[in-house]
Structure formats: structure tokens, C-alpha cells
Symmetry: C2
Subunit: 471 residues, 2 copies
């Protein structure tokens, strides 16, 4: 395979941008913006990744408008960077070569909910919470829940998951079909609305996780779940991270269909207590949720409590009251902000890795020792049913030695996960910060194949350049 891209990506010239701006203004009027503040808000903001603002920001309202934007950019060889809510964590929305940020926040229609089929069709700007708000009265829910109230389009782009993935899967498992504007402006529907199909190459999964480098998703058909008859949640402290992880392994092996099983290390528990005014025991903690019938949920909880006791965990404190549950999971979802509260003024470095579950305790343990040795403050939370965990060092960005120590720590973290047959990112995505690990993880032949895919679909490298494989 000839895998080089046709030419190095350059920033568009001022003249090119002025001409493109005129073209776009004619079509989009006030929905085209170039103010510094808007541009910076559309560069990367949430972690220590440096902000690289686009030159222009445009707010389309339809698939046809997105196609028109892409055609105009393609004609002038100008980069296109899709933007959802800006909550990604690895620099995905940065514009290292300038260009046009396509902000999809006006595309917020919930086009259809098919209750009998347990699916819905939405535009990419709908956020996960907005969708669930809309679904609640119908007895349905959408289970994928990254920490932020991300847009569905962004969640497709990063192959997002969250706390429910152990039971309900990740974005790759819940998307039935996509409408995608390709780098030449063509509009592709990737699949029918059937639950399953063997009709040709899996275009849906090709686009999921492609981070806007192969096209812009403008419509999504999602599988939904029925809201369970009964839900219970609980917390269970353990004497060590290893004991907690061992309890998780046995829980999964035993086939308990746990809906959520989350680890917080003692540092993260302290952060959550401070931030959310809770009094959780400041030890390694599992947060759990069970979905099912009333009897089924009770049975699951009792079985888990037995397993926890085997590993000296407990007491397992469980509750079925909705308000207690909401408070607990809101605290979990706020863990990013809670962690930041541990060191006000510091930058937050949010990173994630994922390993086979048998290696999880060892990986987390080594990482905790490394955190201490590196002199970092870095809480850990994990979707441990999947072997996925997050480390969030808090770093004084003005201290070059500290920044260097953190960079080195993240590098060791990733290499540790890869050495344990894991991946450099379980759910955040590659963006700018994980590009250098793709070849170590996948090997040169697989990376060549990824480059061949990028080159064949986006030969001029206009779609979100500088991410995943295209420099």
C-alpha cells in the first residue's frame, strides 16, 4: 500500500480565508463568526492541551448546509474541524492548521423515536441529557454516559462510553446507522434501521471513533433501552485497590449483569466528598448499580455483597431510592470537577487507558506507586468492569519541571497499559495527545492500513487534520 498522504498540510493563506469567508457569509450571514473569543472557545479548552483556534466558526442547521460548507472548504483546500460541545479531552477540536470549525450545536432535532423498535433518530447537536429528558416519558433511555453532557455527534466521533458500558456497551454497540458528510461533500447513509445486517462493509463502525477525520456525522440512529422496572445503587469500600479489582473480576465472571461498577481511589473519594458535600468512606470504593426486576435487583445486590465480603470489602450499603442514587451518580459524574478542586488554579490532565480486566489491579497499583514517586496529585476513577480507568494529574502549568514530570508519568502510564495487552485510550480517543502511541499499540502494518483508509476517503487531508494518523 502506498500510504503517504498526497502532500503536507499547510495553513490556508489570508487571501484564501478571506475568499472563503465571503462565500460562507453569503450563505450563513450571522451564523458565520470570526471573533477571537468565539474562535478560542472552539479551540481546545478543557485540559492542558494548548488552545489552537480555528480561523472561522460556522453554525449549520441541516445536512445540506454541512455538505455545502465542506464543498466550499474542499474547493479551497481549507481544513474542516467538527465541533460538538467542546468537552473532548485530547485536543480533538483544535485547529493546528487553522480552517473552519463546524459547530453542530444548532442541529438539535430529535427526528423520531420508534418506541416499538427501541430506537431513535437524532441530529448530532443533541446532548445525552437532552435525549434522556425527551425519552423519559416514553419509558426509554439512552445508556451511554461520558462524564460531560456531550453531544451525540461528539460521542460518535470519539467512540465514547461511560459508566453503563459494562452492561450496555459503548457507542460502537448502540449506533444502528449514521448520515455522514464526506470530505468531498457527498452524503452517505451508512446502514438501514435493521438491528443487524451483513450487507457489505461496516461503514457505521468505520465512522464511529474516526474523530471527524473521515467526515462529519449529521444524523444518528441509536438503539435505546427500556427503563428497568427496578434500579438499586450502592457503595462498597475495600481495604485496597487490588481487593476492589478482584471483587470486580469475580462479579463479572459470575455473570451478575451489573449495570455500573465504578472504582474511585481514596484520593478521588476525598475530592468527591469535598466537592459534593458527601461523607463517603475515604478508602478505595466501588460504586454499583443494578437494573432489573424488583426481585432480580435484590438478588444481584445480595450476590455482590457476598463476593465483596470474600475480598474483605464492605459493608455494602445499597439503596433503591431514586434521589440517593441521583446524588451518588451526579457526584461520580462530577469527579472531573471534584478532582480539579483538590488543587485550585492547577491545570487538569485527563487521560485514560484500558487493560484486560485480569491486569487491572496490577496496572492501577503500579500507577498509584508511580503517582507517589512522581510527586503528583492524581486521582483515579475507573469503569473497572471494562478494565478502563482515568488518571487526572493536577499540574501547575507554569512550572516546566512539573509539566515535564507529568508528561513522563502519562507516557509511562500508556506504555504500562500497552505492555499489559491494553490500549492507549479506552474512551477518550486519540486526538492530538495519543497519536504517538498508535504505532506502538497497533504496529506499523495496522497503522499503514489506517493511513490508507484516511488517504482513500480524504485524499487532500482537509477533515480534522493533525489528528489520529494524518499530520
Amino acid at each position: 500500500m502506498n500510504v503517504s498522504l498526497s502532500k503536507p498540510r499547510l495553513r490556508p493563506s489570508a487571501a484564501t480565508l478571506a475568499a472563503l469567508s465571503d462565500d460562507l457569509a453569503a450563505l450563513f450571514g450571522q451564523r458565520l463568526m470570526a471573533a477571537q473569543a468565539v474562535r478560542e472557545q472552539h479551540g481546545h479548552t478543557l485540559t492542558w492541551v494548548k488552545n489552537q483556534p480555528p480561523d472561522l466558526v460556522v453554525f449549520p442547521q441541516t445536512t445540506a448546509e454541512v455538505s455545502e460548507i465542506v464543498r466550499l472548504c474542499a474547493a479551497r483546500d481549507v481544513p474542516v474541524v467538527p465541533f460538538g460541545t467542546g468537552t473532548s479531552l485530547e485536543g480533538h477540536v483544535n485547529a493546528p492548521f487553522g480552517g473552519v470549525s463546524v459547530d453542530l450545536s444548532l442541529m438539535k432535532a430529535i427526528i423520531a423515536v420508534h418506541e416499538e423498535d427501541l430506537d431513535c433518530v437524532v441530529e448530532p447537536g443533541v446532548t445525552r441529557k437532552e435525549l434522556n429528558e425527551h425519552l423519559r416519558d416514553k419509558g426509554l433511555f439512552f445508556p451511554i454516559d461520558p462524564g460531560a453532557d456531550a453531544s451525540i455527534g461528539g460521542m460518535v466521533a470519539t467512540r465514547a462510553s461511560g459508566t453503563n458500558a459494562v452492561r450496555y456497551g459503548t457507542m460502537k454497540d448502540v449506533v444502528l446507522s449514521l448520515t455522514v458528510v464526506m470530505p468531498d461533500g457527498a452524503i452517505v447513509k451508512t446502514a438501514s434501521r435493521a438491528r443487524k445486517s451483513s450487507a457489505g462493509y461496516d461503514l457505521t463502525r468505520l465512522m464511529i471513533g474516526s474523530e471527524g477525520t473521515l467526515g462529519i456525522v449529521t444524523e444518528i440512529t441509536l438503539r435505546l433501552q427500556g427503563i428497568p422496572e427496578a434500579i438499586s445503587a450502592g457503595i462498597c469500600p475495600f481495604p485496597s485497590v487490588k481487593a476492589a479489582c478482584d471483587a470486580v473480576i469475580v462479579t463479572i465472571q459470575t455473570g451478575i449483569p451489573v449495570a455500573r461498577i465504578e472504582l474511585l481511589d481514596e484520593v478521588q473519594v476525598r475530592a468527591v466528598n469535598l466537592h459534593s458535600n458527601l461523607t463517603l468512606p475515604e478508602k478505595p470504593l466501588l460504586l454499583l448499580e443494578f437494573h432489573g426486576t424488583v426481585a432480580g435487583v435484590q438478588e444481584q445486590a445480595e450476590r455482590f455483597a457476598d463476593i465483596a465480603a470474600e475480598f474483605e470489602g464492605g459493608p455494602f450499603d445499597w439503596a433503591t431510592k431514586a434521589e440517593d442514587r441521583s446524588r451518588l451518580w451526579q457526584a461520580r459524574h462530577d469527579s472531573y470537577w471534584a478532582a480539579r478542586g483538590l488543587r485550585p488554579g492547577a491545570e487538569s490532565v485527563a487521560t485514560d487507558v484500558c487493560v484486560p480486566i485480569s491486569r487491572l489491579a496490577e496496572c492501577v497499583d503500579e500507577t498509584k506507586r508511580d503517582i507517589v514517586a512522581s510527586g503528583l496529585i492524581a486521582p483515579i476513577v475507573g469503569h473497572v468492569g471494562d478494565g478502563n480507568f482515568h488518571v487526572q494529574p493536577l499540574v501547575s502549568i507554569d512550572d516546566p519541571a512539573e509539566v515535564a514530570a507529568c508528561e513522563a508519568f502519562v507516557d509511562r502510564l500508556v506504555r504500562r497499559a500497552l505492555a499489559m495487552e491494553g490500549t492507549c485510550t479506552g474512551e477518550h480517543g486519540v486526538g492530538q495527545k495519543k497519536m504517538k502511541y498508535l504505532e506502538i499499540e497497533h504496529g506499523p502494518a495496522a497503522l499503514d492500513l489506517m493511513r490508507a483508509l484516511k488517504r482513500s476517503i480524504d485524499p487532500h487531508n482537509i477533515m480534522n487534520p493533525g489528528k489520529i494518523v494524518a499530520l
Copy 2:
């Protein structure tokens, strides 16, 4: 996108084949075969699709040997057709342009079973029954079960599913990683062994369902399930197909985690009774299986019985004895052979479609009327929890009028499913017989994208030519 393939595929010349045969014989000795019977056995055999034998058949034992075969074929521009057990149904293993059939049946190693991680690593020639035999003592099982005892490699190639898919997913959901020999002989590992990853393009899913047109799968890492503590199975007759389908919809909506829910129409029930010496009621019938705890399975069965009664189904006859269950599911899996018994000497035309579950009753009903109007004998079985069903017309292949009537019937069946937002194949794959429907199902832009993928990965169209998108 420039989507034409570089040149039309031609058969290799006799001189090319002789030279290639010498090269291969030097490496493979007795594991290279060219006898007519062996060649025909490696063309398509199971349905009315015409047998198109390859020129040579070779039996590699390692990934490196597969790579060597592909390199030799690529160097001489000779087609390569991967072969598992030959149980595919749409002409996948035919060699319309001749070339080399790569029979993977000697690659039968179960390389590793990671009990703690609930995964295993296998070679492509292992069949699903062999794998489950190996796993039984470990308390684990592999849930994907197409009717035939297919090879795991073949199941990857066709994105197979089966009766458990409603609960455990299809091949796209259970494969963690693949090793693939690419059309230039390069060896690609598509992913790590982590449960989930956001590290770049989804090469795993790109290969699943590609039917050997993008490469040859030589190693597979599969997710496994724990054998449930309790299993119960049951049968429930209904007054009509519509009543049965409506009961299925409510069962799924209610969130009963049914492991299997299969429809047999009254024609298929008669066939099964005759073939397996059973006395099932000769009415539209649902066959069900529940997995869980003892209490959970009982609760599921009781809830289903209530739902069935709402739709005038019943009595729901359920049993937890393993031997009764085995007999029932063996009968279900033998339905292909049972159907053939309805008209000895006739050819069997096995085809499948899949529609959103809300359209299932309507689609099956219209299809049954069409069968009657067409004067065909054509039993129906369905994985109705997914909206997927099979129709198996039995046709006298020597009667051109009957063959034409059947062709027209299948064409109407597919177009009916597509008009209901369904797919031309839920699990059999495209092969040779469904190629003409891909553009109708996906539209020209999506088909262009599929062609671009094929062209970029296999620019000389040597991998299983004449299937999916490459003529």
C-alpha cells in the same frame, strides 16, 4: 472519490497457474491439491448457487504460510478465495475467476483461554462447536450459533449471528481483535485485547463482514460468556404469525433479557416434526430460552407466559431439563435439513432479510401470502427478537419456470424488507446473490465509499473477487 477498480478481473492463464502451482507445491507439497473433486468441494455447494470451483486448493498451517500464499498469488495476479467449512449460503466461496482456495481447516489451535478476562484466542479453522466443547469444563461458552457448525473464521467473514444474538449480539459484538493477512501479504493485528478502545479507526469491524474481500483472518480474539447458573427453554404456539410477532415486540420492550426467541411458521414446524420425530403443535410457534439465576429464569418465564396469553398464545410449555432443551435446539438448528426433507430431490434456496421489529409481523405475513401466490413450498424460521427471518424455498432446479418464479419471489422478499427500512441480509452476507441489492439498500454514495475502501486495500482485486462490490 475515484471509485473504479484498476482493471477488470480476468481468469489467470494456464501458464500462470502452472507456474503458481509449482511455487506452491514447493512450499506445501501434499497440502496443495488440484483434483477435480477437491476443487468442486471448495466451490459453492449448499444452495442453488452454481458451483464455480477454484483452480487450486491449499491448506496452510500458520499465519506466515497464509501470507506466503497471498504474496505468491499477488505476484501473479491470481485470485485468492478463503475457505472455512463451506457452509455459507450466498456463494461466498465460489471462484468465478478461478484462482486459489485457501482452506483454513488445518488452523485449528485454541491458542489461549483467558478465564479471568472471559476471552480466548483461536485460529480460524476452529468451529463453534469445537470451541464450546473446549470451553465447557471452564464454565464458559461462546454464544454465536449460526445453524451450521461453521468455522470461527467464516463467521467473522460473514458477520454471522444466530439464535442467541438477541441477548449476546453478533460477531461484530464479540470479536475483540483479529490478525489479518492483507492483499499484499502484510500481517495486521487490528486491536489489543482490551474490552474497549478509542485508539483509531475500527479495523476489527472493517474486517468483520468483509467476506474475504479485504484480507484473510488468521487469528481471532473472542469475548466469552459465563455459562449461566440456570437455563430454561420453552415452546409457545400462537394463532397467527402476527400474534407471535406482537408477543415478541412486547417481550423485548418489557426488557425481559430473553436469550433466544425464535419463530417457526407452521410449515417449518411440520418439517421439524417429520425430520426430528417430534410432536410440536403445527401452528406458528415461538421457541424460547432464558438464562440467569434459578429465580431469575423462573421470573422471566412467568412474565413471558403472561405476555403470550395477552396475544392468545399458549400454553407456554417450559422445561429446565438439559436433555429436553438440547433436543429442542438441535431440532431448531436442523431446520435447514428438515426443510429439505419436505421435498426430497429439490434444491434449497436459503435466504434471509431483517427489518425493524415493528415491521416484522407485516413483513412475514406479506411474505407468506406471496409464497402461496407463487405456488412455492417455503418454510420460514426467524430470529425474531432481532427482526431477522429466513425463507427457504424448495425448488426443482430443472424446471426453468419454477426457478424463475423463485428468483422473482426472492427479489420481492428483499425489496419488501428494504421498503420497510430493513436490510437485504441480516446474517448470511452478500456473497454473489445479494450484490445487486447493495446499491438499492445503501444508495450510490455509500456504495462508492465501499468501493473506495476495497480499492484502497486491494487495488488489484485479488481477494475473493466477484463478491460484495468488486466485479
